[in-house]
Every structure is written in C-alpha cells, then in structure tokens.
Subunit: 347 residues, 2 copies
C-alpha cells in the first residue's frame, strides 16, 4: 500500500510500504478514507522537533474497519470510524476518569505502521481508541468532513474552552487564529459565551472566526493587541483560550486574563523560554488549566452536535488533497497558505 513517510525536514514522501497487519488481539485494521495534516506535524516538518527518518506520519484517521482482532468487541469490519490523535486502552485509571491522553498504554500514532496519512492503518486498542460513526451517517460525505476535525482540532479547541471554564453568558478571549484557535471560538460559542474575542494576525482566518461566532476580532500585534483586548473587555476576560503554545501567546493570554480568571491552554509549549506569563498570572491569581486534549472524552458529545447539524468545524479545511497531494499539503500549511489540509482518499 502507499503511505506518507518522513525523510527529513521539508521532506515527506508518499511511497510504497508494507500493509499493516493485526499484531495484537485488541488491534483493528482501518482503511483510511479521510485524514488531515496537523499544525503539530509542522514541528518535525520544520525540523523543530525530532522524528525518526523513515517514520510513518499522521494522527487524525477516519475510515472503514477492515479487520479486527479476536478481543475487539465493539467494532466490526465495515464500520465507519474515526480516531482521536491519541491512543487509549479505555480501561486504565486515566481512561476511566476521562484523561485518555494519560493512558498507561502510552502508545501513539506514527512510527512503524500506525501513521494515519496512508491507505491503511493499524489501530491499537481498537475498542478504547476508535469511535464509530452511526451507520445512518456513515456514508454521508458532508457529515464525514464535518466530523473529521473531531479527531484533533475541534476537540482541542473545546478542551481549551472547557479548561478555561467557559459557560453560558461568559466573555472569552481566544488567542490564536490557527485551526485550534478557530475551533476554540466555535467551542466557546457552543458553550454559550455571550462575547467571544478572537485574537490573531490573519484577516482571512479572523473572517472564519466571525463565522464561528467571534463577536470581536483583534488583528493587532503585541502590546497594541493586549491593550485592545483589555479595553474591549473592560479589564480582561475571566476565560482565555491559549491556542498556540508560543512564548508570546502565553504572555498575551496571561495579560488579557482578568484577575481571578483562567487560561485554558492547549497549544503544546514550543519555545516558551521566559516565564513572564507566570509572574503575570501569579500576581493576578490567574489559573492555568488544560494540556494535551483528551479528545476521546469529548468526541461523543461533539459528534452528536455535528450529526444533528448544530456544529460544523469543517471550514477549517481550506485545502483538500488526495494521498499523493500530502507533500503539497504540508507545504501549504508550512507557508500558511492553508489553515488546515484535508486528505481525501478514494473510497
């Protein structure tokens, strides 16, 4: 079969690889129909994080079950499934309490034969990891494209909103206009926030933020942006969604938080080398909640909303490619030509 393979910074190729096989009785084999390129894939693509050369890539799989191991009880061949970006056994202490990202099985997509950007993938701990799409929606292309962001960015934006404590009537500020930030706006609106201020640097993305429910957008940078946010909210917001993970965005989030408020952070910290945000938060008793998003915890609720037509994060996909187009997809994300790239394989 064919799959995307990492060869070095800027070098992802689609090439022939061995078909995956069931290795454990809890495995499933999924034929991929849809997947995506993630902002976090850019770290290795840009050489900002280590990744083994020759390693398979992709962690947002959706497809059709082809085979299941003997111990898999909740899935059958033919089921349409999607998977969170993290693998979870579903049975350990942390899975039971909904913190699937701390699953003691400690497995992840990528590597030898579990990359999602390919024709097929081996899904470990299939019962705990894969989420079945109800049969009546299983072949509805519009629904599937709206569900695909639930594998990562939509649930991650939602985790930011939940971690920041957003509730009906609240004012929230979302820092970042990438796919996660935009989904954070959507999530905050869905949770009933009355005012959602989106902070970013790209007019086209802030336009999507407006579609997703942002009542105000701030395109300024640095201190100007902070001043504008504080003025708009008469002193800062009690709920701030940090959706980038950079040093400057952590500082912005801390600064625009109202004293006693909470920053929900979901952007993996990258290059945060100073702790000014900590001093700012300490002085104001601003809490920092969140972390790597336990997608599996949220996906059922969010799927229900997508299926009933009240939630549609698919506008974050501003470019679609086929499997051979995966390298172009990486390049488009790297050059910020695309917010997020969908990969559609022949069904």
């Amino acid at each position: 079969m064919r799959a995307a393979v990492y060869h070095g910074p800027g070098d992802v190729r689609v090439e022939e690889v061995p078909d995956p096989e069931l290795e454990a009785p809890t495995d499933a084999i999924v034929r991929i129909t849809h997947t995506a390129v993630c902002g976090s894939d850019l770290w290795f693509y840009r050489g900002e994080s280590d990744y083994p050369a020759g390693g398979r890539v992709g962690h947002e799989p959706m497809g059709v079950v082809e085979a299941v191991g003997d111990d898999v009880t909740s899935l059958e061949p033919g089921d349409r499934v999607l998977s969170p970006f993290s693998i979870s056994c579903g049975e350990c202490e942390f899975c039971r309490k909904g913190l699937y990202t701390s699953c003691t099985a400690d497995e992840s997509w990528g590597g030898e034969n579990t990359g999602a950007q390919g024709e097929k993938v081996r899904a470990p701990h299939a019962d705990g990891t894969l989420v079945r799409v109800p049969d009546r929606y299983a072949d509805d292309e519009d629904v599937l494209e709206s569900l695909l962001p639930l594998t990562d960015v939509m649930c991650t934006g939602h985790h930011a909103a939940v971690s920041a404590g957003v509730d009906a009537g609240d004012t929230a500020i979302v820092v970042g206009d990438g796919a996660v930030g935009l989904c954070g706006v959507l999530a905050a609106s869905r949770l009933g926030a009355e005012r959602v201020v989106a902070m970013g640097h790209h007019e086209d993305r802030l336009e999507i933020a407006r579609e997703f429910g942002a009542t105000d957008v701030i395109a300024a940078r640095g201190e100007d942006a902070v001043e504008e946010a504080i003025e708009l909210t008469d002193g800062g917001a009690n709920h701030v969604l940090e959706c980038v993970g950079a040093e400057s965005s952590m500082e912005t989030a801390a600064e625009v938080a109202r004293p006693g408020g909470t920053v929900g952070y979901v952007g993996v910290p990258q290059g945060v080398e100073t702790t000014g945000f900590l001093d700012t938060m300490f002085r104001k008793n601003v809490g920092l909640e969140g972390g790597v998003a336990p997608v599996r915890k949220y996906v059922d609720d969010l799927m229900a909303d997508v299926l009933q037509g009240t939630l549609d994060p698919s506008p974050v996909f501003t470019k679609t490619v086929d499997l051979d187009g995966v390298p172009d997809g990486y390049a488009a994300m790297d050059e910020r030509d695309a917010v997020k790239v969908m990969v559609k394989l022949d069904d």
Copy 2:
C-alpha cells in the same frame, strides 16, 4: 517613634522616624504589638529584589487601634486588630469577589509610613484592610501569637491547599518546608487530607511538618525526592502545594503531580528561568492555580478555628525578638537559623 528601615542589602536598622498620621478619612493608626519577619522580606535583604533605601519595612501588623479617620465605621480606638499583608478597599469588584490582592486601590505595606516593623503604622482603607480580634481574646497572649501567622503565612499555606483543591480524604504533597510550606501542611490537614507528604531539606522543619499533620516526610533532594514522592503516592498526588516559588520547586511540584491533578502555587516566582515545569504539566493535564494569597478572604474562617483552639500555626515562630532585635531577626532568617521570626513590642 522607632521603626525598622531598609538601608541596603543586609542592612536593616531600627531608628527614629516620624510618627504616622491620619492622611485620609479611611485611615487608621495602629500601635503595633506583634509583627513578624517574612521570607519575602529576605528578597530585598539579600539584594534579590529592589527596595528603596530609607524605606520602611514589614507587612504583617498586629496591634491596637489608636486613632481612626472620620469615614472608618467598623473600628474604634482600643480595638485589637491584625492585617493581611495586602491592603484592600473592601468595595471594588475584586474585593467583593474575595480577590483582595487585586484590589483596585493598589496599595501595599511598606514605604514612607506604612511599614509594619515599627511602633506604629498608618493603615490605609482601615475598614477593608484591618481584621478585628474579638474583645474576649484581645489580650490573650497565647491566642495573639497563634493569630499572628494569619497575617500572611498561614493564609498563604491555606491558599495553596485551597488552590490545589484539597478536600477530605485526599492525598496532598507539599513542596517546601519554610513557614508557608509548614502552614500548607497544617492547612491540608485541616481540610481533611488523609495523607499529607511534606517535601523539604531540613530535618528540624520536617519535624514541625509532622506536628502539623504530615503523614510522610521526604528529606531527599532532586530526582531522588521526586521518585520517593511518586512511589509513596503510587504515581503522584492529585493535589500538590508549591510553597517556594523557585525553579526547582516548580519542577518538583509538576513532576510529583498525578496526571489530571492540580498544583496550588503560592511562592512568588523567583528565578524561574526555564519552563520544564510547563511541559510536564501540559503533558499530564496538571492545572496550576493560586498566586498571591488573598489573606482577607480566609482570615475570618481561620481565626474562628484559632479561637476555638483547633488551629495553632504559632510553632512556625522559632525565634522571637523585640523591636531592637529586628536586624537580628533578618539575619537569623537569612542564615536559616529561624523558620520565622516573631517581633514582640512592649504592650
């Protein structure tokens, strides 16, 4: 009158200064009977933070009201009072929600005529700032000495425990065996924690931790200490009290937190220059709550416990001096000869 004045690193002198006077109708003048030297006083004493030469020092006043301004309604001359280390108007948005440390009046002890280490002090916003000791206990020396830590360290330790979410039956780890850490142990025990693990480096202080309710103490350093804490708690605690504010203690707190847990931090960040703690917390979805402690929010509840004899943080005072002994008090704290120094003035 006489008061402690800062002249430079290592140089605090008790000298003649002008008597304080009422300056605003909301002021009170308090004759100090008891006060203390704080771990945070050591920052300027050690030259680690700026402080104006010639500035008055001390922020933990207890004494007797001598005079009140025309607008002060809750206090009369003769009342025994104590004050949180922060000044609060009692009326702004943040005071109303209990976040007294974010009071919009933005005033603090210290400086021209409001230092607590002296014979008298001018108390701004007296109604909002000062806490009256009920008359029947107002001259009970044992009670007063037990109440004195409520001006700062006891309420700060309590803030760590509350911020970390400690509740009945919980397991808590307290990082730090200074006065705040010891009070954190006491607070966690008071809140019903079933297991309280105290981490520190001084056997004599850990002995006080045991008196205060620690069920386990860890005197090891670095990775050994972390391993011991994780082993003792079978994978880390859901509630961690960070009571130091140093880079190493932030890292320790993050490492000994159980995935999904919360670190309550109350040690003012000092020299935290790397963000390893952030990566650790992010990966495990460990929240960071707390900040500068809103003492005024907690002091009534804790005072009630002291007055009924169920709470006594006074063992943190391992040395007592008179006003002339204040410089010795600083030196003793600086050399770690004393956990915390009480200053008793002639009544």
